[in-house]
Symmetry: D2
Subunit: 170 residues, 4 copies
């Protein structure tokens, strides 16, 4: 999912994207970025403990210093109904605590699939629409960064040419 | 979904089950029952306003009088990722406020589907496993009622003969 | 609370602020604004049904048309522990569904009080810090609007001269 | 808080209560108990990573084997509005995943304080009502266990002689 999200974010021209695992990310990465897509496997309906540890012990050094960045989340559970949305909510709570501007994606990305509160899947991305959910989340993150951090109004997703309305897929 | 949940609950012998819409349910129904499966279409990631209105204006009469009943929730969104889990969480909040003992279902009911925090679907139940998610939730509700309200230990779901483990479906 | 939030938002120069109840707000108000502070009394740990009805039946007309506005929430419960945070979360779910950029406030506003996930109170605002929690939320909303919608970088709250750090109040 | 909750639970006659930290609790403790009050400091609006680690790596061994136990949660944040309710919700998600019957407490325990979704405090328990919120949560846990696991109907909290109604404290 991270790879596809990166692909989506990179589809906005001149957007620099970095993928970091909990093991390698530093507090300085938080300062560097304009936005973040935070992802974790769904573990007991929440983020994995290693992810929580990173925020509790590493990121916390930058608390009160990184407000106003853009953020979203993604998670994959073993099955639908298994907590991928609740895991995204758990990540949202952490991100809000740091003053991030958190968003979901209104768009549908195929029949019966949308990343309204973060990109969620059961298992890994296989179908095209599942891949597109990831790409769209990354794209949206980059669009908000381009629009609000860089003043590039042509990236306002309300002007997007890709299909967004669920009616398109029904 | 309500109909299938009712079917599942009724599979526990001598369990009386009633299906009530917001328009017809009364506060007395809350007093009558030993447990409840609260369901709503997913509207904006939460329950429909009519359901909230019922609890705010009708059920509230019984607040502090119905603690200790068993409860669960179910919801269907237009798409996966569209908030069916968050809608179940919203219903859980209401039920907890009334002192209900709220539960989800650990079981998997097919490959890649589980009602961990309530039965959730995108659209209506079509596949057999989707129907089983509903039935299982209702069954579990009736099992807890049978076990804890009626002392019928043979209904402890830990003794259940139906497959529960995700490994069974992988 | 709404009045104090309005006061805080208005402390950013040239910011036009409108207070609207569910009874008077129209879908056009959603289109008009750059940001919103959504508030409700805490009813059963969530927003009042009238507020949900407004979004389900009035605002829904603008769905897919208002993405990228800034949003936060506030709620007052009868007591601490009575669900004012969960009510803010419920409002966040609705706002995210509409594509809003949702935020909380990292700042402490007095000893032992912060609007991390929205401004929350037990009862009405009485103590100065309770009033400040409301003002700060409104101020922050206006700051993000000034910074990101109007390019006025002097309103970046990271540059704020008011005390933000909990250490200041300990 | 844990100590006061233990005190409250122990006020139900013949109830054996154990307090365990994450460092010392084993998976066997989960099997042993009839109910659990799960508590953590509020860290970024959720449970501490060490608590999550315990469930992800230790408790998980008993998953599918401990359904139907009774559970609640408690958390203390640095300030009101700082996420103690959202931390309780995060713990609820974990507990529901294990098939626990999760509850909050309808009762008010003093003017302007209730453990509706778990016992929550800003800082440590100081005022009498803050201590009572903890005791009441533990008491309620023990009451449900006594009522439903041991058939001691005299412990049904609906028959409780202690004041429960918010009107009592207004």
């Amino acid at each position: 999912m991270a790879s596809l999200i990166s692909e989506g974010a990179s589809s906005v021209s001149e957007m620099e994207v970095r993928i970091k695992s909990c093991d390698e990310a530093t507090a300085a990465d938080l300062t560097w970025c304009h936005g973040i897509a935070m992802g974790s496997p769904t573990n007991l309906g929440s983020m994995a403990w290693k992810m929580k540890k990173w925020w509790d012990t590493v990121a916390v050094e930058k608390w009160l210093e990184v407000d106003g960045k853009f953020a979203c989340s993604f998670s994959s559970s073993a099955g639908w109904g298994g907590g991928n949305e609740t895991a995204c909510n758990a990540m949202a709570t952490v991100l809000l605590n740091f003053g991030f501007l958190y968003f979901g994606v209104t768009d549908y990305v195929g029949k019966g699939l949308t990343p309204h509160y973060g990109a969620v899947l059961a298992g890994e991305p296989r179908e095209e629409k599942e891949k597109e959910a990831c790409r769209r989340l990354g794209r949206r993150l980059a669009e908000w960064v381009a629009l609000y951090k860089e003043g590039r109004s042509e990236f306002n997703p309300l002007m997007a040419e890709y299909p967004r309305d669920p009616k398109h897929f029904s």
